[in-house]
């Protein structure tokens, strides 16, 4: 039996390559289906891996608190905000917090200038504690200090990408850059972190929180994020509940009303990401199964044509002693090889496509195709080959030798 399979595979390959272009067109349905699923999987898996990396870098005991405006309120023009007062309340009334830091993102576009060189970057106002919360460490100079905040010093810690974009010297410490019309002295250069989650972690400028507030002017609009780290001996869930209670009372949220803020743990974020990826995968699975079905019908169609074309050959083989299963296997294997080839081309194409997309979106993590996806894609293509090859193969195997030989 094994022997027959080898022979059948050999002749299946021969006849597939004898009609190279036709075979290619036939497998196109499978190629496209598999390629699209692999492309999306490679992107989502790459994304998932880097999200996971980032969250594990954050540590499982760090919380992000941000304002949350329900859609209804948004439509009425209301916007919830977190303010430094909220931070102060948490600091004062919640136990088990190892460090807490505000984050204030620049609202307007943030241009930085050094000499004649300008660039855009992510500018954040934060404090000393962010070093630990965000796992940012300096390679040269120092991080932001509490005194920087207290005196609203115009100092900045920059990422390596910013240094390169501005043509700053290898050691940029004590150089001055212009930021929103003010001059900032660089006090530290961060260690490179690389790209994570579609966002270059080295393209960043950190300034003292209070300085950021003052240069942003309109303080009523201030909406900060709060990052905090739960101390190692405290329970994360308990801290979350406490923060929630404190914020509800200080912000005057009555019972039965929804929170106008959200507290996210890395696990929650990861679960959300997984959820989205899972949904994309299911929708995609539906599209792909339709595409594979169409591909399979294409293969069945061409196999039926092929059986008719080769009726005489089948007659010859039967005349010299081929049994039913010899002919059946020959055509079945041809169908399976055809769809497997389609599957393989699809995997390669999909991975190529995913990599291309990932490479062209700045900061997007590299595409990654897990082995299970490859196996699943090939397994499905093989299954489609069997499913849609069995009918033509059976038709070939059941031909009467004399009729087949007489066929013109």
């Amino acid at each position: 039996m094994f022997f027959v399979i080898i022979e059948s595979t050999r002749s299946a390959m021969a006849s597939i390559f004898a009609h190279g272009f036709r075979s290619f067109l036939t497998t196109l349905g499978i190629v496209i289906g598999v390629a699209s699923v692999i492309a999306v999987i490679s992107l989502t898996q790459g994304l998932r891996a880097s999200v996971g990396q980032q969250f594990s870098a954050l540590g499982s005991n760090s919380l992000t608190i941000s304002a949350y405006t329900p859609l209804q309120d948004q439509m009425q023009g209301r916007r919830a905000r977190l303010t430094p007062d909220d931070l102060e309340m948490i600091e004062r009334r919640v136990d088990g917090v190892a460090s807490i830091t505000p984050l204030l993102y620049a609202t307007r576009s943030s241009q930085i200038r050094y000499g004649s060189q300008t660039t855009f970057s992510q500018i954040m106002g934060t404090g000393y504690a962010y070093r630990e919360v965000g796992q940012f460490y300096v390679q040269l100079g120092r991080f932001l200090a509490n005194s920087d905040n207290d005196t609203r010093r115009r100092v900045a810690v920059i990422g390596d990408a910013v240094r390169r974009n501005l043509n700053l010297p290898e050691n940029p410490v004590n150089e001055y850059v212009e930021l929103g019309g003010e001059w900032f002295r660089i006090v530290g250069l961060l260690e490179p972190k690389g790209d994570i989650m579609g966002f270059n972690q080295d393209d960043i400028v950190l300034v003292p929180f209070a300085t950021m507030q003052s240069i942003q002017g309109n303080q009523a609009q201030t909406d900060i994020q709060i990052q905090l780290r739960v101390s190692d001996d405290a329970d994360v869930d308990a801290v979350v509940r406490r923060v929630e209670a404190v914020l509800r009372s200080t912000r005057g949220i009555e019972q039965g009303q929804r929170d106008d803020f959200q507290i996210q743990t890395p696990e929650q974020l990861m679960a959300t990401v997984d959820n989205v990826i899972g949904m994309v995968t299911i929708v995609l699975g539906g599209i792909v199964s339709i595409s594979l079905l169409v591909g399979g019908i294409g293969i069945m169609n061409i196999m039926l044509v092929s059986v008719t074309e080769r009726t005489r050959e089948i007659g010859i083989c039967k005349a010299i002693g081929a049994k039913r299963h010899h002919i059946l296997l020959q055509f079945l294997i041809e169908a399976v090889v055809l769809s497997l080839l389609g599957g393989m081309i699809g995997v390669a194409l999909g991975y190529g496509l995913g990599s291309l997309v990932a490479a062209n979106i700045p900061g997007f993590p590299p595409a990654a195709v897990p082995l299970w996806a490859v196996m699943l894609a090939l397994g499905f293509s093989g299954f489609v080959g069997v499913l849609f090859g069995i009918l033509p193969a059976g038709k070939a195997a059941n031909l009467d030798p004399i009729d087949a030989l007489r066929y013109e």
Binding site: F3, V4, E313, G321, P401, I402
Partner: protein, 235 residues
């Protein structure tokens, strides 16, 4: 018992209202190492006869014993095994696999009896050498002349060492010189002990054979032993 025994074989085709009696009661014995030519006008039933002898086709009625085995009630797969082991078929139109080289064409029947690659190749080379085609083994059929193609087909028939070689107008598509070559090959195979049954409408070819069976309207009209010049005329 003879190598082949036919008893009252008929083959009818229903064509609408009308029944075509392609074979209309044939009883004949063929011995080992016989060299038989079936002759007769077109439509007299020669090909139908040969196809039944070669287990490609089944008779409408009658008995067929091949090598003391009753072929009547065999399944399609059992018939395939008989075609593979007992019969070497040679066709007027060669019937080679177009995408396979001469060597692979000759190796093909051995696949169906599970001969290993190396052995298969050696056997096929031997058969091709026998028909003087050792220098053309890697040619495709369309790279060979008609006579060479027919020799590949003969090698394919020989490679399984069958009990009988059946040839339906084997020289019908060949010119007179290649016809002579092929007939010389058949004569040699006969001398080596093979049993040959040919269908032809050329007297020139029939004259090579030991025995000439003339068919007429699906019946045996004359059965002539050319060695003893002994003719049995039916009807």
């Amino acid at each position: 018992m003879s190598l082949i025994e036919l008893q009252d074989i008929t083959k009818f085709y229903e064509m609408g209202e009308q029944t075509v009696r392609a074979l209309d009661g044939i009883s004949i014995r063929i011995e080992k190492n016989d060299y038989v030519a079936f002759i007769g006008s077109s439509g007299s039933g020669k090909s139908t006869m040969l196809n039944i002898l070669g287990c490609l086709d089944r008779p409408t009625s009658g008995r067929y014993h091949l090598n003391e085995q009753n072929v009547e009630n065999l399944t399609p797969n059992e018939l395939a095994a008989i075609r593979n082991q007992e019969i070497g078929f040679i066709f007027q139109s060669f019937n080679l696999l177009p995408r396979a080289t001469a060597l692979h064409n000759v190796m093909q029947p051995l696949i169906y009896r599970n001969v290993r690659w190396g052995k298969r190749k050696a056997m096929a080379m031997e058969a091709l050498r026998r028909v003087n085609l050792a220098d053309r083994v890697h040619h495709l059929p369309n790279q060979l002349s008609g006579g060479q193609r027919q020799r590949v087909a003969i090698a394919r028939a020989l490679v399984t060492n069958p009990s009988i070689l059946l040839a339906d107008e084997p020289t019908g598509n060949l010119d007179s010189r290649t016809t002579a070559e092929i007939m010389q090959l058949f004569d040699e195979l006969h001398r080596e002990g093979h049993t040959l049954i040919l269908v032809t409408h050329e007297d020139e070819i029939a004259r090579h054979c030991k025995r000439i069976v003339e068919m007429k309207d699906g019946r045996v009209h004359r059965d002539i032993n050319t060695v003893t010049a002994d003719a049995q005329v039916s009807n």
